[in-house]
Structure formats: C-alpha cells, structure tokens
C-alpha cells in the first residue's frame, strides 16, 4: 500500500474537499468493517468506491449518511470536524444517500415518501410534488409514477424513485450505493451521464458499483477497498494516463490481489452462447398464463423449457417480470392458463407443494422476502426446509445438523460472515445474495427461476454464480433467468424471451445477432 492515499499529493484541483474521512475505523462484533480509512471527497468529482463483496463500502458510506458512527477517527465536512450524528444531520449538511436496499416506506405513495422529510404541520401540496418529481425524473431519463404505491413497484423502479428523491432534496454530496445494479445498461448509462452533469455543476458524487466499466467511464477518482482497508487509489491524472483498459487491469489487481485476472477472464471467456440443447419434452411448460395486477397485468405467456435448457427473460424492470415469477412460484394467484412441471399441472398448488415438486425461485427481493434479517445465517439457509430431516426430527431442532449444513454452505459459496449465528441482515448485500443462491441451488430441483441472480455481486462471485447456474442446467434442470442485464442473458441462455408491458413480445435463439434482435423487440414495443 502506498502512502499516496492523500489526494493532495497528486496535482490537485484547487478545490478543498467537501468531506474528508480521517483514519476512520468501524468495528462490528467479530469483524473490522473499515480499518483506519482516510479519503477526501472533492466537489466536481465522481468518486468511485470499489471492492469485493463485504469489503466495507456500504459501511463506509453509512457513516457519511449518519446511519453509523465511526468507532475511531473522524469525519470533516467543509474542513471542520464534526460528528454526523443522524440521517437528518447528514441531509442538512447536503449529504443525500441512495442506499443499496430501498429505504422507501412500502405502504406510501412515492409522493408521500418524498414528502416524509417535510414539515408535519403543513398539508403537502401533492400536485406540486408530483410535478417536481416528474421533472426531476425526466432530467435523469427515468420515468416514475408519483402516485404509485411503493410496494407495487419493482426494486429497480424503487431505486430510481430514491435517486429522484435524493436529488429533489437538494443534495450537494450524493452517495449512490450500487444504484446501477438494478438498471438496464441503457438506464445505467443515462445515470452515468447524469452523474457527469451533476459534478459539472459542482456537486460531489460517491458512486459504488461492481461494474468496472462504469467505474472507469464515469469516475474521476477511484478508491479500492479490500477486507476493510483502503488498498489503493487512482487519481484523475492516473486514470487519464492509464486509459480504460490498463486502469481496469490495475483495479482488478487491487480488488482481488493475485486471483483477480482469473476472475475477469472467466467472465469474459464465457461470453459465447452455450451449445444449443436438442429439444426434449418440455420440463416446465407455461400455457396462456394470465396474472392479475393493478399496474402491470401479465397476459398470454407461452413458454416451454426443456431439461437442460436456460431461457432468459429480458426486459426493462417493471414490465411484469416480478408478477410472472411470483405466479410461477405460487406467491400470486394465476388468473388463467396453466403451468406444467414434469407434465403435471401445478398452477393450483400452494408454494410449498410446488417446491416439493422441484420448483425453486430465487427472489430478487433478498431482504424483503428472501431472508429474515434478524435470524441467524444458519436458519436462513434452511428457511424453506423447516421441519425437514435431518435438520429437524419429529419437529425438534437438531442444532448439530443445522450448524454443519451452515458451515458447509458458508464455505462452498464463500459467504463472508463472522459466524453462522450472525443475523443474516448484518451481512453485506453481496453476501446475502450468496446466501440465497446457496439455499436454492442445493438439494434436488427440477426447475429454477432466477430473478436477477447476480445483482450486487462482485466479479469473482458473478463468475462463480453463473457457473453454478450453468451447472444446474447441465444437470438436467429447466432454468429461467430474469435479468435486466443483456450481457448476462447472452452469456447464459439458450433462448431469450423479451418481456414488455406484461407480455412476451418475442423469443429469439441466442445466436450471433441475438443482441440486435432483442434490441428491436424492446424498442419496437416502446414505440
């Protein structure tokens, strides 16, 4: 580690930092999440924080947004050291945050969520708020429906709304924790351009991402964390002189140490499509499926997926993917149509029975429904097998078997947790995702539905997870992958269906020009 971590050493813009971290340390039971980190954040710069899952990025920004207090060290705002004692304090200092996991109140409309910080004695002018919201959204190239109830929106839509809200509150220092993870590449690019515009106006932005291309494209300055320490930084000059490719290489080296190159290669090498499976009897068959929903009703879904086949479902978030996958899993009633698994209709079966038939659903709402945050990792790993042997016998918990299972999964899936008894909610976002994957991929499954399977994972873990999905298919399972990331679908799928406004508007074989055809389907419907 070099001592050049003081940005003042590089020929610096004359500006003084808006916010400085001075040897900040944050400890949690069993782990040092941040280890004496010093970073300056300058106005007019997009400062990218990089690091593998659990490196300490979210923890670092949670101290800037007033959610956590440093164990040691201090934070200076505009050159004056001061504690950021609460989120309100952070807001009043102009620090706005969009967190990795949604902070909106699910039962309220977006308008009311925006109004939450407002004066309680005034009747909110909902129309004005809605109008301002739409304008702000328009300026960053996203669409929001201010009157929508938050819980009816997909996670991606909620995240967009949060960005809009933070901007509406007039932040001069904007923290985006994995804000692009849920966006389509196009929207991510728009957000990137927006960040550029914001910093051009003199704002400071902290941008956390796992996508290195975004980091290099939009970042002015990059800091890399590893195991809670700041292991390196690239200033504006270095970034420019290195150029995107060399910079990416250097970043990977910093992030993962020696095994980084390998990870990057795995991801890239797998870019080609898998060999097409020859048609067999469909294992999972969806016929004329209709699902009711207030905002995005789903209609006319026809899909046949054979054993060993991976079908990708592409589309902008909020076009019925959630409704479709929940209906398949049994969490939502099917209005019309049929679902066959192994030739047996399952559309009237409850969730548990479908699981017993071999249907698995990896939800993308990992905190809302995927895990019980207050419960230990060991129990969350068995959430869908409660009462089953060997973990429970005659209904009695078998602590040994449960712990053994947990230790094995934690090791196999590289879930970084201080202990198997640690509450799952305390894990880093990526590690919670690994927990879900571990739970759903073990045991005997026939068909698996993955909703955004690699969202929030770092390069190494993405590679590992995609390998596991491929292995699942190779093992004779029928696999559906819903993703907003076209690259992911092209890497994994045999066929790709495009979903728009609750319908499947086209299905393409994943061959050479799949990307173009998908693009046509997407824009054709949009027009």
């Amino acid at each position: 580690m070099t001592l050049s971590s003081q940005p003042a050493d590089d020929a610096e813009p004359l500006a003084k930092p808006i916010v400085s971290l001075k040897s900040v340390t944050k400890r949690f039971p069993g782990i040092v999440a941040n280890d004496s980190i010093s970073i300056d954040f300058f106005p007019g710069e997009v400062h990218v924080l990089l690091g593998e899952n659990g490196a300490g990025k979210s923890t670092l920004v949670s101290m800037l947004s007033g959610l956590q207090q440093p164990s040691e060290g201090s934070i200076a705002v505009d050159g004056t050291e001061m504690p950021i004692a609460s989120p309100q304090k952070a807001l009043s200092l102009g620090i706005g945050t969009v967190f990795q996991h949604s902070m909106l109140v699910p039962s309220l409309t977006l308008i009311d969520n925006v109004n939450l910080g407002g004066s309680w004695w005034k009747t909110p002018d909902r129309e004005a708020i809605a109008k301002r919201m739409e304008e702000t959204a328009l300026s960053i190239g996203v669409e929001v429906n201010p009157a929508a109830i938050t819980s009816s929106l997909s996670l991606g839509e909620q995240q967009q709304a949060e960005i809009v809200r933070a901007l509406m509150r007039g932040s001069r220092f904007l923290i985006l924790d994995e804000a692009t993870a849920m966006l389509t590449p196009k929207d991510a690019e728009k957000l990137g351009q927006l960040m550029r515009r914001l910093v051009a106006q003199g704002l400071a932005v902290i941008f956390i991402t796992h996508k290195l291309n975004e980091a290099v494209a939009y970042g002015d300055r990059i800091s890399v964390l590893r195991l809670g320490r700041k292991v390196g930084a690239l200033g504006p000059d270095e970034l420019k002189s290195l150029g995107p490719e060399a910079a990416t290489k250097e970043i990977i080296r910093l992030m993962f140490g020696s095994n980084g190159n390998q990870a990057a290669e795995t991801t890239r090498a797998a870019g080609s499509a898998r060999p097409l499976v020859t048609a067999t009897d469909p294992l999972l068959e969806i016929l004329a499926l209709e699902v009711d929903d207030d905002s995005v009703p789903v209609t006319g879904i026809e899909l046949k997926i054979g054993a060993g086949e991976i079908v990708g479902i592409a589309g902008i978030d909020g076009n019925g993917q959630k409704q479709l996958s929940e209906a398949l899993a049994g969490q939502r009633p099917v209005k019309n149509g049929r679902i066959y698994l192994d030739g047996q209709p399952i559309e009237d079966l409850p969730i548990g029975a479908r699981r017993h038939r071999g249907l698995r659903y990896v939800t993308d709402d990992r905190l809302g429904e995927g895990t019980v945050g207050a419960f230990p990792v060991s129990i969350n790993l068995l959430l869908k097998q409660i009462g089953e042997a060997p973990f429970w016998r005659s209904g009695i918990e078998q602590g040994g078997a449960i712990a053994e299972n947990a230790r094995k999964q934690v090791k196999d899936y590289d879930i970084r947790t201080p202990d198997i008894e640690t509450p799952a909610g305390k894990l880093s976002g990526g590690n919670i995702q690994k927990l879900l994957l571990a739970r759903e991929l073990t045991g005997s499954a026939r068909a698996v539905i993955f909703a955004k399977p690699t969202y929030g994972l770092d390069l190494n873990n993405i590679a590992a997870s995609r390998r596991r999905i491929r292995e699942a298919a190779d093992g004779g399972k029928a696999v559906i992958v819903l993703s907003t990331e076209l690259d992911e679908l092209i890497e994994l799928s045999d066929r790709i269906a495009v979903m728009s406004q609750g319908r499947i508007v086209g299905i393409v074989e994943n061959d050479g020009d799949a990307r173009q055809k998908i693009g046509e389907f997407m824009s054709g419907v949009a027009a």
């Binding site: 010093s38 969490q331 969730i351 659903y361």
Partner: protein
C-alpha cells in the same frame, strides 16, 4: 491530519492492553446487568413511596406489610402461588401470539367464558363421573371455549387481513357481557340470592399441593410456560411462528401456510386464556360471580414484553406481580390504600424499566463509538 504510525510492535502492545480492558469490561458489564435489573425495582418502590407519602401513608409500613402478607406469611405465599397459575397460563398464550406477531388482546373474554362455562358444568358433571375425569374434561372444555371465542378474529385476520387488535378487543367486550348474561340467566345457582354459578365443593377442585392451600393450578401454569418456552426455542413449529412474526413476506416466500398458522396461533393463545379461566375456577374460586372480571390479560401483556417473551423471565415477573397484588389486597383492608395501588407500583416499574432499557441501549451505542 494525524499521521498514522504503522508499527507492528505497537499493535501487539495495544492488543495486550485490550485484553486487560476486556476482562475489566466483562466485570463491569456483569455489575451493570445486575444494576439494570435491580435498580429499576428499587427506584420504582422509591417513587411509589413518594406517592404514598403524599397520600398520608407510611411507605415503609405499606411495603413491609405487602412483603409480609404476599411473601413471608404462609397463607400469603400460598395465595401468591395459587394466583400464579392462571396468570402464567395467560402469559403462555400471549407469548405464543406475540412471537407470531399477532396481538390477541381478547384474553379477558376468553378467560371469563372459559371460567363461566366450566363453573356451570363442573358441579353438574361431578354427578356423572369421577372427580379426576371431571377436572380433565372441564380443563379441556375451558380451553376449547376460549379458542372458539377467537375464531372470528382468527378467520378475519387469516382470510381478509383484518387487524386483530380491533377485532379481539371488540370480541372481548362482547364476550365479557355474554359471560355475564350466561351467569345471570342460564348458569344461576338457584340456592343463593347472589347472582353466581353453583359453587364447586372444595374436595372436587384441583388437588392442593402437599399440606398447603396452594392449588396445583400453579403447576399447570409452570408446565405450560416451560412447554411454550421449549416449543418456541427448539421446534420447527415454534420457528415457523417466529418467522411469520418477524417477516410475514418471507414466511409466504418460504412456502409456510401463513393463514393456517395464524388460525393455529389464535387457537393456542385463546385456548390458554380459556384454560386459565378453568384453572381459576377449578383451583381457586369454585364459582363465577356475576360482573366478575379480574382483567388479567392487559396486566400481563407488559410483563410478557418486559420478559422479552422468555419463559423464565416471565415466571419471575409473574411471581413479583402476584406477591404485590396479593399483599396489596391485604393492605387495602388494613391500611386503607386502595387495591389498585399495585397497578400504580407496577406501572411505575414498567416505565422505569423502559427508561433503563433505553439508557442502556444508548450506552451500548456510545461505547461502540
């Protein structure tokens, strides 16, 4: 900006120092823990004493009297333990419900209806079957009656998602009146002028423990609490209930049958309240008088919360409450302090425990920084 010294030997020294600090910290932690549990009790009694002084009563006399009567005198401790039986059963039911995130606040009616029906049936049944069988049958009937009275709120919550706080409270008002109607009209003992049910002879009641007047109802209560504690901590069923309580969406996602579990929780919780009513009649009162309503449920609710749904802590709190309430019933007669003063002491204790908890949390938070 401070310059960081990266010296490994300094790290080692720091670690050693940390070790020493850690053990000292452990000790102070222990002391603080004791202080945290005893402190509020002492403070509560002090505050209540001030109120007593304002009322013109000598607090030392009052509390000595209570401890003597509720704890130290043989008849007092016997009464205290006997009272614990029904209270523990109500607590057991509340623990199950709260763990599952369900607010069954209709316990009073479930208790009273169980009590009235059992009081009416038991003296009749003794003519047809042996006493032990009567006791078993009526205990079961009490539980069933309690459970039945929760059926409407249970179905509304499970099927329609109707908030059970409101429905259980409404069913409670209805049930209390209904129980009165039953006692005054249908279950009336023709042999007395007082409106009440027939009285179960002492020899037909729940057996007493050894040579004392302690009713074996307290054993039923203790067993119930311990079973609930075990089921919640160690079984798949308990875990399912806790998941429904902690994150209902996750429960649905995991394929648990949330509506069946909800109805089950209502039945168990209300069943315990009904059983409590049966135990109160069969072990203690022998009959139900019209307009009788000890309203135990809402008193037990905060105790169960303070115990954090832990069975053993619940037993301790229920014991304390029994001592205070039995003692103060005597004190009411002797010193002229109204019976309700127990509730004042308990309320002050609850508030102080709440405040200590808040301070403790603040302290832990600030220590982390």
């Amino acid at each position: 900006m401070s310059v960081e010294v990266q010296d490994p030997s300094a790290d080692g020294q720091a670690a050693a120092k940390n070790n020493g600090l850690a053990s000292r910290r452990l000790l102070t932690d222990r002391l603080q823990l004791i202080g945290l549990s005893i402190g509020p009790l002492v403070a509560a009694i002090l505050v209540a004493s001030l109120i007593l002084i304002a009322m013109g009563v000598n607090p030392v006399d009052y509390y000595t009297y209570i401890v003597n009567r509720g704890l130290l005198s043989p008849s007092g401790i016997e009464a205290t333990l006997t009272r614990m039986g029904p209270l523990l059963l109500i607590a057991a039911g509340l623990i199950v419900a709260f763990r599952a995130g369900i607010w069954n606040l209709g316990g009073d009616a479930q208790f009273l209806l169980g009590a009235s029906v059992v009081a009416a049936l038991a003296p009749v049944l003794t003519g047809y079957m042996p006493v032990w069988l009567v006791l078993i049958v009526t205990l079961v009937i009490g539980a069933i009656i309690g459970a039945l009275w929760s059926l409407v709120p249970a179905l509304l919550r499970a099927r329609q998602g109707v908030n059970e706080i409101i429905t259980t409270m409404m069913m409670s008002f209805l049930g209390i009146s209904f129980s009165n109607v039953l006692v005054k009209i249908f279950f009336l003992d023709p042999a007395t002028n007082v409106p009440q049910t027939r009285t179960l002879p002492v020899e037909d009641r729940l057996p007493r423990l050894f040579d004392t007047t302690i009713s074996s109802g307290v054993l039923i209560g203790l067993v119930a609490i311990l079973i609930v504690h075990y089921v919640m901590a160690k079984t798949a069923f308990g875990l399912k209930l806790k998941i429904v309580g902690a994150n209902a969406k996750a429960a649905v996602h995991a394929g648990l049958s949330v509506s069946a579990l909800t109805i089950g929780v209502f039945a168990i919780s209300a069943g315990f309240s009904g059983l409590s009513g049966a135990v109160a009649v069969l072990g203690q009162y022998g009959n139900v008088r019209a307009d009788w309503n000890p309203a135990y449920t809402l008193t037990i609710v905060p105790l169960v919360f303070l115990a954090r749904f832990n069975g053993f802590a619940t037993i301790a709190y229920v014991f304390l409450f029994s001592v205070l309430s039995i003692g103060s019933e005597s004190a009411a007669r002797r010193l002229g302090v109204p019976n309700y003063f127990t509730l004042v002491t308990m309320a002050i204790l609850l508030i102080l425990l709440g405040i200590t908890e808040m301070l403790d949390q603040k302290r832990r938070e600030s220590r982390r920084t």
